[in-house]
Amino acid sequence: MKCEDVSKELIAYLDRRANSAERRDAEEHLLACERCRTRADEFRKLWAILDEVPIHEPSFGFDARLRQRIAAEPKPRWFQWLVPQPRLAFSMALLLALSVWIARLPQQAKPGAFASAPSEDEQFQMIEHLGVLENYDLLSKSDVLAEVPSTPGPQSDDQQNQQAPDDGGSL
């Protein structure tokens, strides 16, 4: 162990708070190093010297002055027991708000569900056009039908006239 390493543990060794391994390391180093041994002896003397400083006592009126200051402290109000801690009050309010919100959830869903339910007439019309509705997916997704003009009405007279010579020509 080097002098720099032992210096950190020297105080703990001298005040008998080092663990057994630290104590053994320090003792080994102190046996081998006269400089650190001298320093350790001087630390022991220093601590004895520091004990010579007299204790500074508080003045005679210290307690009385403190009691006066405590007496002048604002007294707790009668309603303060209701809210012992702001954090607790906030937690309670949050819990209450959450409970109300959860309780209201089913009530909000019901009116919506009734409003979207079809009436008897609407149900009858749906059944009446059920064949069309059943074929709707097939019709809308057919690629062949996509080439047909989107407004398939009765063809105009011009178109019929233009097609007629072609038909004849081909014959």
Partner: protein, 203 residues
């Protein structure tokens, strides 16, 4: 049977003011003593000690015994002392702008050069004052560490908690502080140890 600090504080929390008086009697001297060694002014030390007790009293309803009572109390005291020292330093800096340079108050409160004036110094002031000044000349954090280690006999963990540092950093801090004191007080260290002295904790 003597009630522990934590038990007394829990009783204060329950509304027993007599338990607070017991805590006051138990810790007023160590606290005033610690603060006096920090700020070097009797009136300021007492004001700060009163403020510590007042804060403990105000916090009684929120008290939970998560930390040692003395650690909590000395942490408050340390913060108040360091703030007071910084405020005082600022005040002195402001007032010293117009003050004469050779004013006694504005003179640096450092120890004289050991080789040159130590004998004169020892004649002028008594031995304990010389030691006290050596402690006061330490940097603030080192001073707190020495006072809590040497005089309040706190564990490394407690002191490290108060100073917001690791135990390893505290050991280095203490070594540097004691090394500085060993050099500053070398004339006393070189003398034979006085009979009966040095029976404190860190010895």
């Amino acid at each position: 049977m003597t009630r522990s600090d934590v038990q007394l504080m829990l009783d204060v929390k329950a509304g027993d003011d007599e338990s607070f008086n017991l805590l006051l009697r138990r810790y007023r001297t160590p606290l005033v003593n610690f603060l006096f060694r920090m700020v070097r002014d009797s009136a300021t030390a007492e004001d700060l000690a009163q403020e510590v007790f007042l804060r403990v009293y105000r916090a009684r309803k929120q008290y939970s015994p998560s930390a040692k009572f003395t650690t909590w109390m000395f942490r408050i005291a340390t913060n108040l002392a360091l703030n007071s020292i910084r405020d005082n330093r600022h005040r002195k800096m402001e007032t010293s702008i117009d003050a004469p340079v050779d004013d006694e108050e504005s003179a640096p409160r450092e120890l004289p050069a050991r080789e040159m004036r130590i004998d004169e110094h020892m004649v002028e002031r008594d031995r304990s004052e010389f030691i006290r000044r050596a402690i006061t000349s330490l940097p603030e954090k080192q001073r707190v560490a020495v006072l809590l280690h040497k005089y309040e006999e706190m564990d490394y963990g407690e002191i490290a908690g108060i100073l917001d540092c690791s135990e390893s950093a505290l050991k280095s801090l203490l070594f540097r502080a004691y090394e500085t004191l060993r050099v500053q007080l070398a004339p006393l260290v070189a003398q034979p140890v006085r009979h009966g002295a040095g029976e404190g904790r860190a010895s």
